[in-house]
């Protein structure tokens, strides 16, 4: 049981948890405001990671700077997706009737296209780079500088984002949209604009997280998929559309995963994540913090 009390493990769990919180925040915005099931979400992580990798290997720019470029590029993709396809999709009543299923198939197709395009350009090989790899020691915890930076930057950005979305006027408008789309249009919220910004911010945050992740693990075209799964686990745990719940659930999943793997072994990682996921869907589809009714 000693292993469960190790501060080293605690730090690892915090890092994973913060990244999950950040990524699922993006997914939550998109699902909450538009009811789009973005199963290509993890691919934005992958794109962000490739942006950081390219920035480092071509221009020698570190991920702490290129993460803003990743956010802008992914946000731009969000804008493009909204203006080209999703805007019409959300206006089409025939598709809107089965929006969740249709958007899921749509994003599934997009995910496959994106992954394979990236494979064509960058090959399926694992890529990576060295960045702040010196060991830092804080209160008995030994971390590489990169992991420490990820922890600090990830925490700051996710907390700022949650606070902004809770207290700013735009955040309030978005919350209104999450609660009731029709009613928010009635009280004068520009639904179209809020939807577009939700998508841009959601994609951008996720791309930024991807740039941070690029220093932690090998970069491959299929690296995003586990994050898609984790993000869905998190937002279902936290309650769909509940940003604060999602933030806590992200941390919780990070802890469950890191400590679970420490107890059982690395080959159980996927089993743990999928097991938690299936268990939650079957036993508490309204989320851990949710109330009796299933949000639809």
């Amino acid at each position: 049981m000693d292993i469960l009390l190790s501060p080293q493990l605690l730090a690892a769990a915090l890092i994973t948890g913060v990244l999950y919180a950040l990524i699922s925040l993006g997914l939550n915005l998109i699902y909450g405001t538009m009811r789009l099931l973005n199963v290509a979400h993890g691919d934005l992580v992958m794109i962000g990671a490739y942006v950081a990798f390219m920035a480092f290997s071509l221009f020698n720019v570190g991920p702490l700077i290129s993460m803003f470029a990743a956010a802008i590029i992914c946000g731009g993709l969000g804008w493009l997706a909204y203006r080209s396809v999703l805007q019409n999709l959300l206006a089409n009543s025939e598709i809107l009737a089965r929006l969740e299923e249709n958007s899921l198939l749509l994003f599934f197709g997009i995910s496959v296209v994106v992954q394979n395009l990236v494979t064509l350009f960058f090959t399926a090989d694992r890529q990576g780079y060295e960045y702040l790899s010196a060991i830092v020691e804080i209160a008995d915890v030994r971390l590489t500088g990169a992991r420490l930076a990820v922890l600090v930057v990830g925490s700051v950005i996710s907390i700022v984002a949650v606070l902004y979305l809770r207290f700013s006027l735009f955040g309030l408008a978005m919350n209104a949209l999450i609660q009731n789309r029709d009613a928010s249009a009635v009280v004068g919220i520009n639904v179209d604009r809020v939807q577009m910004y939700s998508l841009v911010i959601g994609f951008g945050i996720t791309g930024l997280a991807g740039a941070l992740i690029s220093v932690l693990e090998p970069i491959t075209p299929v690296m995003g998929f586990p994050y898609t799964m984790s993000a869905f686990v998190v937002i279902i745990l936290g309650g769909l559309g509940n940003l604060w719940g999602g933030f806590l659930a992200g941390l919780l999943l990070g802890f469950l995963e890191i400590f679970g793997v420490a107890v059982t072994g690395p080959e159980w990682r996927s089993v743990l994540v999928y097991g938690i996921f299936i268990g939650i869907l079957i036993f508490r589809p309204q989320g851990l913090l949710g109330h009796g009714r299933i949000a639809r």
């Binding site: 899921l104 599934f108 197709g109 496959v112 296209v113 394979n116 494979t119 999928y274 299936i278 079957i282």
Partner: protein, 306 residues
């Protein structure tokens, strides 16, 4: 059509391509095998997902489980009994896991089905590692010509099954679930039982397909047997073919198998990109698929003529 005429038709559909197995080349038999395999898989997908609207993105879980059961009992029982047993075991397993899984509805079910396939894949991987097996060869399988005929029989069987269910009381119940599950339950459709039956039925066929497929590939590897691309291909085939009825997917399957034959070996990425693009295009522009688009336009034409 009288029953005996139907019977003759079905017999002809089996006998004509079946007789090819005597003289067609190995290559042609291979393509035929793949074609029949996907016809069987797509038809079995329709029984659950097409009719009830419970879209499964993890249909490969039945395929892989069937293959796994088959390699575990390989050599212990006669070959064709092994195939039937794989189907039975997986169908029985589907009844057990279907009970909790089918309580989850709509988009949640879609994601769950995918997660379930990955979960089973990882459990099989762990189990294989624990037994110190990295890959399992299957020696002494029947020749391709026999496997080809077996697959043909499965494909025809699955098509007839889907065709029959679609026109039965059972099928009407399943479709009422798709239209409005609450309403169906209220007027007395035994929703839970019908879903479970459809789930089990749609699992038996792919399990047997998986068993036969493993004899053809000669080796069992969890990563291949539970490859999500198989699930993805099935969904795309049905979406392209369209409709919740048996004839729809035949078009989609034929089209994609040809595409696969041309591209998969040398340009897998291009194949996947085309597949993804097709899925996107059909969801956006022709959600009913080729079949419903054709029948809509043909019936419009007939009306104009009259």
């Amino acid at each position: 059509m009288s029953n005996s005429f139907k019977f003759i038709c079905i017999a002809a559909v089996i006998i004509i391509p079946g007789s090819l197995s005597g003289f067609a080349s190995e290559y042609m038999l291979g393509i035929g095998f793949t074609l029949f395999m996907y016809i069987a898989l797509a038809q079995s997908w329709i029984i659950l997902s097409g009719m009830t609207g419970y879209i499964s993105l993890g249909h490969v879980v039945f395929f892989g489980s069937g293959a796994y059961v088959f390699v575990l009992i390989w050599g212990l029982v006669p070959v064709w009994l092994g195939v039937a047993l794989s189907g039975l075991v997986v169908g029985f397993g589907a009844i057990i896991i279907g009970y909790p899984v089918l309580r989850v509805r709509g988009p949640y079910f879609v994601i769950l089905s995918f997660g379930l396939a990955e979960l089973v894949k990882n459990l099989v991987l762990i189990n294989e590692a624990r037994m110190y097996v990295s890959l399992r060869p299957v020696f002494g399988a029947p020749p391709l010509a026999q496997l080809y005929i077996a697959m043909l029989v499965l494909a025809v069987g699955a098509t007839v099954l889907t065709f029959w269910i679609r026109r039965s009381r059972f099928g009407a119940g399943l479709r009422s679930i798709r239209e409005d599950e609450w309403a169906a339950e209220t007027i007395g459709v035994p929703v839970a039982r019908l879903k479970l039956m459809a789930f089990a039925l749609s699992g038996v066929v792919p399990a047997m397909v998986g068993a036969i497929f493993i004899m053809r590939s000669g080796i069992f590897q969890p990563g291949d047997a539970f490859n999500p691309i198989v699930s993805f291909t099935i969904v795309t085939m049905v979406i392209i073919g369209g409709s919740d009825d048996a004839p729809g997917p035949l078009l989609g399957v034929a089209f994609l198998v040809i595409l696969q034959e041309l591209l998969w070996a040398n340009w897998p990425e291009i194949y996947m990109i085309i597949l993804g693009a097709l899925l996107i295009g059909f969801v956006l522009f022709a959600p009913g698929g080729i079949f419903s688009w054709l029948s809509k336009n043909i019936s419009r034409g007939n009306k104009n003529a009259a």
